[in-house]
Assembly symmetry: D2
């Protein structure tokens, strides 16, 4: 089957679907994005890649950054990481504060905000200049140097970070945050502000499709076992409260962000990134999810 | 790779691990089971099968029956089913009552008790003699007539069904249960009491490994799409509160029961059933989980 | 100060306020009541009494019955009662199920439904013919034989008792309900259906204003200490989620029911019953609460 | 009845009860207090006062300060205050975060930490130099200038304020905190650190026993209605999770602090302060509660 043709067909079917969702408005800088944008990029582990539509426009990757920071921390830490952050879907449409309270400051998984804060806190133990290291990690895996923090977005996030500050201080009261909250929130808001294109994003996830090895450089980023586990976490927890539904409808490990990006992998084969800023009520890109559901249906495969 | 040899090796490695868990004691009839039993059976979609240890001893499949009733209901109902039961992991170590309250009587997924009660309630709309139909469905898929309700277990469950009665009445107060609670609980306790062996259980799950088609008879049980979706649900919700952890460590769709049974599938290939009555703190068979984790590690594959 | 004049003034001020709330509609038999009714009755411990408006019309006392059953049980049990039911306000606008789950089947206080079910369950241990005994207790304290169960209301309650059945079975699963749920719910629905007038209700609460002694017969119903404690419970828990607000605005121990009745006492002096079927969003009689707030303001006293 | 004799009798009965509780250890500075201290002071609105035991030893009033700040804010604000803080008992043994989440950042009442933070935040709007004004208010009502912030305690609180920071940021994310969290927490930790003796404390609460008027100066602190309402709040919410139980056993409006202080009033008559640092599992002084329970029993009165 010619994947390029499948993608072109889906692109043309989905493109008329603008207007079903709303651009994220929790920070001003995100709310200003033109909603009617749509791009797709595919990268395969044997080196091929192509894109369609707005696949070369930078957007804010937001929560997708949590995959990079988790990989950076899993690389260095073993089972001890999982004593301070769980591996279970969060299961609550509310926020994670209720669950944090019941579970004594241990967040359910590394992809809810509380869990991502713990991961970044650990990253700050492991890397001397955490912000530089994050950018470097993403650049190397995307095989691209033109990836940066969007200072406008980062500042906007910082100004509206009360809830994340609450999460952080709450975990700190249970002893599960080591660093000063002001420093931690600075790294965290910056990682969320990373600007990338679909093409760069698809490439940067290839090491997860390739069992932990960067297919460009041959460098091993994660062991086979750790890559498998990170993929499993994306499947069960990568799409907020809609994770179960995403696994049910799409059946691929992936991660979304409120900037409208969605990225998923087919283990042993390829990664695919979609971007469209209109979000559904769960904070996932409407057209991104639609694209991926059609993709797995059309190529007749999912991991199940 | 010779799967039989892999299984033999694992069987010998895991067999000395008795004593790590406790037999279910919430009903007297289950508490009487000899804990030191351990069996494995594998069945492939091309007709091969083999077993080891106590693979021909009957045990109570308990919650594994929820997969059969769900398949029976999904067969007849489309999207309307998912308006009365969710597809998200439950995410709470407590019980599902809290979540039921927040979500107005809609259980999170069909594998928590509340969800399974809704599924059985719908099954009673679809099948005139529901208990007979359940047995018949399992017998056909297991290619075996010697499968029955354990009346002793069923009676014992009925006598200790207060919590399930509470769940049922609570959902009824939201209009999400149609049938008389006494009749519903009778069907439900019987389905949980079904007695099977590992060999029978492995065979009976082959239709899910075979994309919805019974490989013995060629009968289509579920459409390809529905089979994929049921498998996705098993992966994300099949192991109680430990589902995320199971996906993380094993990476296969599967289902466990407090009788000590665990069954999992490799899509397109095979199904594997393990039984050992000693349970971990989450209610999953210790040696069952251990066996499956080693199995996916040794054969170098999971769905991720 | 002439209390009768104060009451007449308030009656005339409040009477034009019809139309602010809604009659209870959770059971058909209650929904049929004419909303534009309003009665007040006052009874003092020295034997005086008077009434205004619809003070001689029977209405369903509903949750006010919980005070009678609690008094009947407190009379016979000491501290052991408080091991199976708490004395703290429930503090949740939802239902009591969430709290029941966290607190292992011990309801927060005897005036939430779960707590009242436990109290009635204990009453069934103490009195051989519980329904007869409840009627007798109320008749004696109201000094009136024409008090009965409204069979129409009781039947209607029984038919819509799923949520109370859920509460009961849930507590039974924790071992906190002794009796068969069907028998318990029958007694409970009957006690809620008791029909009384404001005049009868005011009289029947005099023993609580009179430190536990029936002022007509001189019979001691409760010890001074137990009467004080029951009054304290009414103040802190008697008005559903609005209890704190009621204490804040009115400052008297009292109890309301969804039939539109409200009764309160001034310790050492009098009891006052108001009835008007229109309820606020918390299930308390709008004009009943309004009347009591004006009453304590005008006579310049509350217990604070 | 001679109240002094009653108090002397109780003092002698309760004094041998050391060893039933534990000194607060959540901040180092509190943990260092000698647990075997016990003092009582009574002040009546007609000017009499006396004390026993350690009634002239300074201790940290902690949460009792919430009554002073609330009075300072109620003095200036009307109903608008109650839009941002509730008047219902909190009803949860956990912390208030769960409830805050359900109720969109509106704390249940002004005596849980979240509510007290809102009150102090408002106080910072009303008083230009909030810390000075707090001290001045307490000094005037206690008729004593030797009342100050314990800098050692205040610093210790600040260093362990993660949970309060979490509460504050969380409410800020709902728009219910106006001030910078660092400034707010500084005022809050200082108010909790106020050091007073039982004698001073008893005097400083006389305006609440005296319907809002300072009996020494004749100055009206609160209107009669507001004083009644503040008293009602103390009764229903003043003793943490044990408030209902306290109302049940003691029946007086009062407030406790984890420094071991307890203060209560008999409206129209007197105020009584007890101090003993050993706390029960709810954070209330064991001997303080015991003293007050015996006091209302012996003088044969409570407000009920």
């Amino acid at each position: 089957m010619d994947i390029r043709k499948v993608i072109e067909k889906i692109y043309n079917e989905v493109k008329p679907m603008f207007g079903r969702g709303k651009v994220a408005d929790y920070i001003p800088a995100l709310a200003e994005v033109n909603p009617r944008q749509y791009g797709i990029a595919v990268a395969s582990i044997d080196g091929e890649s192509f894109g369609l539509g707005d696949c070369r426009t930078k957007f804010s990757i937001q929560s997708i950054s949590k995959v990079f920071t988790l990989a950076m921390v899993m690389r260095h830490l073993g089972e001890e990481l999982w004593e301070s952050v769980g591996r279970e879907p969060s299961g609550t449409p509310f926020n994670s504060l209720v669950q944090l309270e019941y579970e004594h400051g241990i967040p359910r998984n590394p992809f809810i905000n509380a869990g991502a804060l713990v991961v970044t806190d650990r990253l700050m133990n492991l890397y001397e200049r955490p912000k530089d290291s994050i950018l470097q990690f993403i650049r190397e895996n995307a095989d691209c140097d033109d990836i940066y923090f969007d200072r406008n977005i980062a500042r906007s996030e910082l100004e509206t970070s009360s809830r994340n500050m609450a999460l952080g201080y709450f975990m700190k009261s249970f002893g599960n945050i080591d660093h000063d909250m002001d420093k931690l929130i600075d790294v965290y808001c910056n990682q969320c502000s990373v600007a990338m294109t679909c093409e760069e994003l698809a490439k940067s996830f290839l090491f997860l499709a390739n069992h932990g090895e960067n297919p460009f450089t041959g460098e091993r980023i994660l062991s086979v076992s750790k890559a498998k586990r990170l993929n499993s976490l994306m499947l069960t927890c990568g799409f907020y409260d809609e994770s179960g539904d995403f696994a049910f409808r799409v059946g691929l490990p992936g991660k979304s962000g409120v900037g409208g990006g969605v990225v998923a992998i087919i283990p042993g084969k390829l990664s695919i990134a979609v971007w469209s800023p209109e979000l559904d009520s769960h904070g996932n890109s409407c057209m991104g999810i639609e694209t991926l559901e059609r993709f797995t249906t059309d190529i007749g495969t999912s991991i199940f």
